[in-house]
């Protein structure tokens, strides 16, 4: 139990996916100009992340390892991710058209979100158990969502600031992300 808690905290805070591991930066920079899309993206990514972590774990230990085909993992995982995204889209459309309308645009983007592939590769690389993999994915998703929402709220506030012209947009966003990342550095060595 304590081990699982540590995995969760590790993925959420210490090795935060966006700010310490540099994964998922495209959506982090791309959809955080205002709050609503950031929230939608967080929700969609969290859902897909958890599903792909389980699916990739099962495929890797059930199929690739017995066949001695670990070197094919990149191709297989990217196919699994594309499949999960497709499945999520169909499922959402059938169950909740409203949610599909809100999240629909963001779903295809998740296929090229390296955080999703990163979680799958890291889970397998560190040889986690299935519960460990699930907890790790949940922590990563929560950390991703938390940071995305904090960041989009900051960017909304920055709109009113008297910024130097050359820094508007992406440059000040990157600098802000850097100072947030400096705060997360305080968790270094925890555990």
């Amino acid at each position: 139990m304590a081990e699982l808690a540590l995995i969760l905290l590790g993925a959420l805070l210490i090795n935060n996916f966006v700010l310490a591991q540099f994964l998922g930066l495209c959506p982090f920079m791309g959809v955080t100009k205002s709050f609503a899309p950031a929230l939608a993206m967080s929700a969609a990514t969290a859902f897909v992340l958890a599903l792909t972590a389980i699916a990739c774990h099962l495929v890797h230990h059930g199929l690739l390892v017995p066949l001695g085909l670990e070197w094919l993992r990149i191709i297989v995982f990217i196919v699994v991710i594309a499949g999960v995204v497709q499945f999520t889209e169909l499922y959402l459309r059938a169950v909740s058209p409203l949610a599909h309308q809100r999240l629909g645009v963001y779903l295809p983007l998740i296929t090229t979100n390296c955080a999703v592939l990163g979680v799958a590769l890291l889970t397998v690389g560190e040889g986690r158990s299935l519960p460990g993999a699930v907890v790790f994915a949940v922590g990563a998703a929560a950390g991703f969502g938390l940071v995305l929402m904090m960041f989009s709220a900051i960017r909304e506030r920055l709109l009113g600031a008297d910024l130097p012209a050359a820094l508007q947009g992406a440059p000040i966003a990157l600098i802000t992300a850097g100072i947030m990342s400096l705060g997360f550095l305080g968790f270094f060595g925890l555990g």
Binding site: W71, L72, I75, F188, G189, L190, G191
Partner: protein
């Protein structure tokens, strides 16, 4: 039908390419991975040796030439510092290296033998006589105490 055929064809091209390179590089990759897993051990004993029949038991392993490797964890400033030590057949300490640790970045770097010669001093003088690093007393003391405990355990 045509869609399926071309998709199959492209998959086949990719699979052939991959299988070919995989066959070419497999041996080199295997060699690199083994060498990496034993890198610290090779470094601390100063020689490379055949690792295929070696098994760790109770955090110890005996090499063919009689040298014994020991792993030991000592509480540092932030979490455990994992050490690897080599003892000669007569129980003499040959050397110590840090395998992994989470000490403060910048401050705890000196226990990586690649970044500082500090760890090399343990093969020359008794551990408690090694000077602590200014500003990182805690980490240095932790390593010194860890090495001392390993030597004491070895003497018993």
């Amino acid at each position: 039908m045509r869609t399926l055929l071309s998709l199959g064809g492209i998959s086949l091209v990719c699979a052939l390419l991959l299988a070919g390179v995989q066959a070419l590089t497999e041996e080199a990759i295997d060699r690199n991975r083994t060498a990496h897993a034993w890198r610290t051990a090779f470094e601390v004993t100063g020689e490379t040796f055949d690792t295929s029949n070696l098994k760790w038991r109770d955090e110890q392993v005996q090499l063919p030439n009689g040298t014994r490797l020991k792993r030991f964890a000592t509480p540092g400033y932030a979490g455990d510092i994992h050490l690897l030590a080599a003892f000669s057949q007569s129980g003499q300490l040959l050397g110590v290296r840090a395998i992994r640790h989470q000490e403060t970045p910048g401050l705890g770097d000196f226990i990586d033998s690649g970044k500082s010669p500090w760890m090399l001093r343990f093969s020359q003088s008794p551990p408690l006589a090694v000077d602590a690093i200014t500003g990182a007393t805690i980490t240095s003391e932790a390593v010194k105490r860890g090495v001392q405990r390993m030597i004491e355990a070895e003497a018993e």
